[in-house]
Amino acid sequence: MTTAEARAALERALLRIAPEVDPGTLDPRASLREQIDLDSMDMLNLLIEIHRTTGVDIPEEDYPKLGSLEECVDYLVARDPTTRERSGA
């Protein structure tokens, strides 16, 4: 998964949870929860949606690593099995 693909998947998932949000206006380094007022249920639904569309497994202990857009994108790229295959990892 490329960074652009991860970002696109994340934005699609975000729009399902918070359709009023314009992802282009979000600060990639700021907390998603704070920026768009996501509660625990929204965050869980967001992670479920990301998992469904990318197939990336997200254990609960990794939730704190997914605070901002940038962190989410980095995480998806690193954890995606196809990325690992391409990089020979």
């Binding site: 509660d39 249920m41 869980l44 998992h51 497994d57 997200i58």
Partner: protein
């Protein structure tokens, strides 16, 4: 036109879901009605056949106006059979629960020995039955109308109900440890939030202290026969609704989590049902996600109590003779003093504490 909220006076028929001649069963959705709190699905409460629709779509009428004529089960052309007599293999506990939840046990897929329907099968069916209908175009509730509806309900509550408030801090350590272990075993779609455990603890505590679970109407407290737990849900455009998870005390924590996710989604996307909007017997509001330590809420009339839940945060806690860091949550109860004395409200809070101390038993 049913009353779909404490202060609803009128409703607009958006769409009929049935036509004359259609057979309907208890719990079927027959219409969508627009209220100040959005579009709500209206259910029918008996089996029968739709004889005549008395309102045109788009009609706005006062609460109490007849909407349709339904020929009841006694006159219907098909026989109705109580679940116990269906010949379906099922456990007594499953039949009892199915009867309480209004579920036809013959419709439930059994996973027990020789396909027998188990209590867990019924719980799963109950959670699935609250899935939203598809293809209904809905409008967002008008925020000004919703604000007026909230204002009317809250003003009535503060005007009529003598609120008393109690609160306590609870060591959430055992529950947090149980959750971490449980969630490590579950796939992401089945994972539990702390809210599910808290709701279950409150629902069971309401069974322990029934004075907090019921309605105050006509100057008298009417204890509820079941625990239908209202959940305050904020809407993304502003405002809130408090639909109920029906029979919350009888749902396993996993099923309760499924019900909660579904309820939140439908509260925000549309598809709440009349029975969920009016059936609550006790409500929980949880503002912990916003960093709030304590919530002292306003009772949703005609209910007699509201539980407030704050954030779960690491705090200094005395355990034995040591001070240790523990995850702590502050839980409060706002109680209608006409129906609930401070002593009983205190016992209710204590029951929540005890239930959360033994999360495996929830």
């Amino acid at each position: 036109m049913p009353s779909l909220g404490a202060d609803m006076v009128r409703g607009r028929l958006v769409e009929w879901k049935v036509r004359p001649g259609d057979a309907v069963r208890r719990g079927d959705i027959v219409a969508d009605v627009e209220t100040d709190k959005g579009v709500i699905e209206v259910e029918v409460f008996e089996d029968g056949v739709v004889e005549e629709l008395l309102l045109q779509e788009g009609a706005e009428v006062p609460v109490g106006t007849p909407m349709a004529r339904i020929r009841g089960a006694a006159e219907a052309t098909w026989p109705t059979t109580p679940p116990v007599a269906t010949g379906v293999r099922s456990s007594p506990a499953a039949r009892k629960l199915a009867e309480e939840l209004g579920i036809d046990v013959a419709r439930v897929a059994g996973t027990g020995p020789q396909g027998a329907v188990t209590r867990e099968d019924v719980e799963r069916e109950a959670a699935a039955a609250s899935a939203p209908g598809a293809g209904v175009e809905r409008t967002s509730p008008d925020s000004a109308r919703m604000r007026r509806a909230i204002a009317a309900t809250m003003t009535r509550s503060k005007r009529e109900i003598p609120h008393s408030y109690l609160g306590t801090a609870i060591d959430f350590g055992p529950a947090a440890a149980w959750l971490a272990e449980e969630n490590a075993r579950r796939g992401i779609e089945e994972r539990l939030l702390p809210a599910a455990l808290l709701l279950k603890a409150v629902a069971l505590a309401a069974r322990d202290v029934p004075e907090v679970n019921g309605l105050w109407t006509d100057g008298v407290f009417h204890p509820a026969e079941a625990v239908h737990l209202g959940v305050a849900i904020s809407l993304r455009g502003g405002g809130l609704v408090a639909p109920a998870i029906l029979h919350a005390d009888r749902l396993a924590v996993g099923a309760l989590m499924v019900g909660l996710r579904d309820l939140v989604r439908r509260a925000r996307d549309g598809g709440l049902r009349g029975s969920e909007m009016t059936g609550g017997t006790l409500t929980v509001t949880n503002l912990g996600d916003r960093g709030v330590d304590q919530v002292y809420g306003i009772i949703h009339p005609p209910q007699v109590a509201l539980v407030g839940v704050g954030r779960i945060a690491e705090r200094a806690w005395v355990l034995g003779r040591e001070v240790v860091a523990r995850p702590v949550v502050e839980v409060t109860v706002a109680a209608d003093h006409r129906a609930v004395d401070g002593h009983r409200a205190g016992l209710f809070l204590d029951a929540i504490v005890r239930r959360l101390a033994d999360p495996g038993a929830l």
